[in-house]
Subunit: 288 residues, 2 copies
């Protein structure tokens, strides 16, 4: 029996309706939710990403503005810019496009991100709060998308469920692992230094993969009936490819997200939902 597809586009459409309703409610009170994307230097991939966010924002009533700093901006000026955005009442969400130019260190800059507008979780204080499971300002967009998809899966109750996270990045693997632990899952975090990766992936009831290695996960590495979430997106010969060898794994797994059409579409809406949430908080409008 082939795996059930966990369809990100359908889920994204539902979330978009919710976010658009909240955006309209804010606009009815004279508040235009606004996301500022700070970019240091020019970068074709960044520009394309921002365009896609702008289009998605237009559908749900979130304005998206690019704040471009020169490629040779120094640490102090990037920090000052982020702090200024923190104090600007017309701005509700701020993201800092990465990667930064090589001369800039992310750490000290990230700590200047205003936490109450940090809709994609750049400031470590937000990962700290997330780690403490004591409520974070915002769950970053990609980890939020993973959890939203799991909530629609057979594994919506994660208590005691064996989860294997492949990848431990600050933007996906680590926060997803922490969120799974907070939901009482038993979590194994694997990565490129793991010896015998299959030993761990095969033991998982829920397998989440975020490595950027196309086709890393093969059928024999997956337990029959497992729920598989593929966060990877790499362009290979012009096509978007996940970290999971989809066709063969779909023959073994119980549920699986496709690439494209899985985590990606949900991520974009999750980001905009955080912007609307930030605007509601800043203007003291109760969230639904």
């Amino acid at each position: 029996m082939p795996a059930t597809i966990l369809d990100g586009r359908t889920l994204a459409a539902e979330l978009r309706d919710e976010v658009a309703a909240r955006g309209a409610r804010l606009r009815g009170r004279g508040i235009a939710p606004r996301l500022v994307v700070t970019i240091v230097g020019e970068d074709a991939a960044s520009v394309a990403y921002v365009r896609s966010i702008e289009r998605a924002g237009a559908k749900v009533g979130v304005d998206v503005t690019v704040d471009a700093l020169p490629a040779d901006a120094d640490e102090g000026s990037v920090r000052a810019r982020l702090q200024a955005l923190g104090g600007d009442d017309t701005v509700h969400g701020v993201i800092l496009q990465q990667p930064l130019p090589a001369h800039l260190g992310i750490r000290r800059i990230a700590e200047a991100m205003p936490p109450h507008k940090d809709v994609d979780g750049a400031n470590p204080v937000n990962l700290g709060r997330l780690a403490f499971a004591s409520g974070t300002e915002f769950v970053p967009a990609t980890p939020a998308a993973v959890l939203l998809l799991l909530e629609r899966s057979r594994r919506r109750d994660l208590r005691g469920v064996r989860c294997c996270m492949v990848g431990r990045s600050n933007v996906v693997g680590l926060p997803v692992s922490l969120l799974l632990m907070a939901r009482d899952a038993t979590v194994t975090v694997t990565h490129k230094e793991t010896v015998d990766l299959a030993r761990h992936t095969r033991d998982a009831e829920v397998l989440i993969v975020a490595t950027g290695v196309p086709g890393l996960i093969r059928a024999e590495m997956v337990a029959p009936g497992a729920t598989v979430i593929d966060v990877g997106t790499t362009f290979v010969d012009g096509a978007l490819v996940g970290d999971v060898a989809y066709d063969e794994v779909a023959a073994v797994a119980g549920e699986i997200t496709p690439v494209p059409g899985g985590v990606g579409p949900v991520t974009n809406v999750a980001l905009l939902r955080n912007v609307v949430l930030a605007a509601e908080r800043i203007h003291a409008v109760p969230s639904p």
Copy 2:
């Protein structure tokens, strides 16, 4: 062959010599390293703990002062007190004794802890930095002690090593797990909702236990030759007992920490070492 004992008292004595030398160097420059322990209300266990820290501090040249707030202190006054300590140049380390009285929430209070004096990692920003593996101000004392003991073990190189953490508390399980990941271990985090705990513990090359359940880990739950670190300390019939059934597990494990005499003695010195480190930073004295 019985397990090798990972002797915390010997390691603590070595660390104490190092910390005392650094303390003496600071005093030679007219700087008296000082730790302030903020306590809200009276509590016999807290008072005993502070006395033990005072004695340990006296041996290495760290002054320990108790800052007692009334039991009915409100959130604002505790926060204000922590902030004031942050601005006091004669204070280098601050810890907030827990548990707090029931009317106080730890989260908002912890965020008022000055990060540069947060020697036991109460402020989530420090756990966030630790999670980011990008350098934290201080590794909290108990997780630091676990890592110091592992550095003296056969498993000093943790790359690719299968580690199982039993317990996911904010003070031990979570930060230890993050530190192990940062050292390239493959980490499984288990806890009271884990189904079939032995399945995970038996698979571990390094097993770290911090649950407060005396004798939870039995011989049949441990892989032959594994390195076992027992963080648990519970008084049972007047004796200090760990989370590991010591006698039977010592017959199976390759290395094991005793209770008492394992993690505990190293923890106290690790805390004082953080105070000295904070004083070195605040007064711009290079650390050795």
